[in-house]
Symmetry: D2
Subunit: 313 residues, 4 copies
Amino acid sequence: MAIALGQNQYGKAETRVLRVYRDSDRHEIRDLAVSTSLRGDFADAHTRGDQAHVLPTDSQKNTCFAYAKEKGVGEIEDYAMELARHFTADVPYVSGARVEVDEYRWDRVAVAAARHPAGQPPDGRPGHGHTFVRAGPDVRTTAVTVEGRGSRQRAWVVSGLKDLLVLKSTGSEFSGFLTDRYTTLQETGDRVLATSLTARWRYGSAETDWGEAYRQIRQILLGRFATTHSLALQQTLWEMGSAVLRERTDVAEIRLSAPNRHHFLVDLAPFGLANDGEVFYAADRPYGLIQCCVERDDAPDPGTAWHGPGAFA
Amino acid sequence: MAIALGQNQYGKAETRVLRVYRDSDRHEIRDLAVSTSLRGDFADAHTRGDQAHVLPTDSQKNTCFAYAKEKGVGEIEDYAMELARHFTADVPYVSGARVEVDEYRWDRVAVAAARHPAGQPPDGRPGHGHTFVRAGPDVRTTAVTVEGRGSRQRAWVVSGLKDLLVLKSTGSEFSGFLTDRYTTLQETGDRVLATSLTARWRYGSAETDWGEAYRQIRQILLGRFATTHSLALQQTLWEMGSAVLRERTDVAEIRLSAPNRHHFLVDLAPFGLANDGEVFYAADRPYGLIQCCVERDDAPDPGTAWHGPGAFA
Amino acid sequence: MAIALGQNQYGKAETRVLRVYRDSDRHEIRDLAVSTSLRGDFADAHTRGDQAHVLPTDSQKNTCFAYAKEKGVGEIEDYAMELARHFTADVPYVSGARVEVDEYRWDRVAVAAARHPAGQPPDGRPGHGHTFVRAGPDVRTTAVTVEGRGSRQRAWVVSGLKDLLVLKSTGSEFSGFLTDRYTTLQETGDRVLATSLTARWRYGSAETDWGEAYRQIRQILLGRFATTHSLALQQTLWEMGSAVLRERTDVAEIRLSAPNRHHFLVDLAPFGLANDGEVFYAADRPYGLIQCCVERDDAPDPGTAWHGPGAFA
Amino acid sequence: MAIALGQNQYGKAETRVLRVYRDSDRHEIRDLAVSTSLRGDFADAHTRGDQAHVLPTDSQKNTCFAYAKEKGVGEIEDYAMELARHFTADVPYVSGARVEVDEYRWDRVAVAAARHPAGQPPDGRPGHGHTFVRAGPDVRTTAVTVEGRGSRQRAWVVSGLKDLLVLKSTGSEFSGFLTDRYTTLQETGDRVLATSLTARWRYGSAETDWGEAYRQIRQILLGRFATTHSLALQQTLWEMGSAVLRERTDVAEIRLSAPNRHHFLVDLAPFGLANDGEVFYAADRPYGLIQCCVERDDAPDPGTAWHGPGAFA
């Protein structure tokens, strides 16, 4: 019978790594969730149960920890690239690897020194410059894909952010849309526009100042969301995405996914009250979901950048 | 500058529909979450903010409700197909649609009639045959994709299940694996194997007895998980998937995704106790993640079955 | 300044224990989440940072694992009682303990023997009677509180269930309610009634057949929900709770908490369709929340049964 | 039979209210989740199904929206107090009310004016000062309880915060603890200390500058967490709580609940690497849970402040 193994991959998901840099009198921390997946010659593991080609996911987890020490984390793109290259180059039977990293943001806690002399303990204990508070909820992400070995090795970096909640209390309308038998929605010239943005952008090369690029792109996305008079989420996303491509020539493509977090104007008329855009009900489900890609015509081939070599999604 | 709109889609996600069939003296219910996404000629909505081609997501939601009444739900594959065909055929500017439906399972509550005479109220009130209790946690799913119009219209059905938690307390080993510098894992001849299975299978045609197929495939997956002596999750998944393809000739391809819900043997030796596979610690993260596809060599072209015509994943 | 330490407690939360009983050719499993909290003479730990009275939460976790082996799990009430008595009686400085256990339900996977001869492997490998599938989503719970030592030791058992989703498609009305300036709700003679029930009942004594009691009470709750023509959730809860107290004389008190999972009738009139209780929209938030206690007048003193000796809630 | 209705309450939970203040050229927003619960003479609703005393939860929801317009939100303590007093004073049969409000924090998006001239649209469209980005993950909370009518009315305000994630990369030790047969934990002189703090404090009076108090208390909690050399979470919480009471004489009592988000030092020795507090594994479950109350000896009677008059917890 013509039944065959198709695409497949395996790895260790969501290894939670905290890396502390202690070299100065003010520690730096990097707080990560790391997921690895490998693709290669694993047919026998499936069809015969023979694991001789399979590096355990436990070893992949150990590697994430060891590399956090040996190579350091630096920018998550560098760390993911080191890991993906290692798996592809050094582990037999592996033909490609994908490493995804989420980074959680922490701010250093500011303490007024004068009011807290305890911060400078006389007995040599560490001071209070080593304390952090989680900032968010948005999370920085990357997914690095490496395929092939030696001179034929290729690599792609897709970085992004998720859970970036933004809201405009005005400057958004929705009108002139298509209607059909099932349309009851009224046009509106002034509504609340809110979303929890996921953005992922593919870099055209495997080298750039990742941290600087991330900070600038995040700011462009926020800024364009703010300054665009929205005629629809589609148009807002286009404005945001194309602004990123205009300002960052190292970005080949950006994908934006935006649930429309509906805020419905509450009808207060039954209570004898006007409601001129002042009181809204924030709904959970259902929600509109708008997704688009903005790309450069002459961008290099995406290869397996978006899904990895095992492309299982 | 050569910046262009790439793939895009939009729709209404997670509309929660309860459909009650009241025609008999024992109601039937169908409890669904429905997500629609449309693709087509929406460039102007993005680049110029012109919504003339855009049917609001609110109208899509209304359509889900109206079709639950007009066409009924029947099997979720039929309901999704009706909706996807409608959007593609009847809505201008739409060239393809994808409708995803999750169905939550409810069992009728059994009541001992003799003990609960209140169940047959003398005043004409309804009896107690209309009460249900959620069964789960596993959820039945489908994703129907339709592309093109008229005689060129094509359709794909990918059905599945998710959150099917299964566990074997024995009959699983893991040994003979590849090792490297970072390997510390010991071989084991008897371990707990547990996963939360996601399975999705693509039907080769757009017509079958969807309900019967679903029930049989779910039972094959459970049965093969039970009867396969596991040498690794990879092999177990292969056995499960290939069994489905052997027994259901209408399935072209099945994709299985299985997080390895690790259960670690607790070391009780410090307390002077043996632990012969009796006490385990169930860990949350990280987890192995094993994914594979089992396919028929001569299966028809998958087209955009897996991602829909807007393929944004 | 008159600043003092008030109530306090500490412990280890959500230790996930899987206990496998391997003595027969068909294993039995118990899947638990265990949380312990201790109260006692811990003032110095707070005000001076002196841990001499503090048994680490890590040791409490180890005790949960060791007791699962030594004492076995049996019914979760027995297991929790063993742990709570141990902490209170055997650990210095501890004056009271509370142990909460959630138990996840698993069904054995049924396999048709004839079709799966692989289930009886010729090489002595274990058969397929050791495979389980999660049933749910409802979870069985208990919270055992022990206070004092020796002859003055007292113990309370509060057992329950949570996440029991039930739904009636008819047999529920809501009318004759109080109205005020802010009331817009219409009366209804036939609505969907759904909830995710949490029930907790306090036993009057520390000894009973816990498993049998649990199964009977769960069935009473389901049965009364089914057979009661609902005039409001308040009345339905009262009927359910008082039925439990009538049928189980060992239950002193039962507390029921029921979010009203609203299902709103969808207005299909704009589409020229009737909707006679056939299509509903299941809303997430906000939700009504109805809570009540049904108790026996002559019930023994609840002591710290509901919150434990450290009563922090 | 001596079966009676015990404590009970009902209300509408998690009404999501967005209040927009549009009076200036830079809007202000308040984003809330509001839960109300009422207690009073509701016995007939339970035992006879008679709803004549029951104001629907839907009306309570409407009241939350109407009050957000009529009274405004101001500080959440004021808003909750208005609602709770209204329900208790104006709704027949209600003897007490509890209103809980969570407030989500949003920062205004800063836009560099020069780079975004689109922000000053020539056609009279609103500029970009109305755009916000969610800050968090910590959430401000309050629970206002009102009991009785007229001159006998009493009110309590318990405010707080939750999901405040804080982490120290050093300045934390844990040693000198009690050990028993089940203790395997090693002492440590330098560990990572992290928690997701929930704090709730009861004000001694029903009037203060709520916003200023909240900001100061949040800062005291952060500052003391930073500057306290931790000998245990118990001592850290005591230091944080007592600092609040010292600096805010209007706070009668503070309760702190802190899951110990364990970060375990990874053993890198098998890979020939040292690990001097540089690489940690962040675990999910189980977790230590430390809870304590710091109170003023001469604080006024808490009444039903912590649980409300229906005290169902």
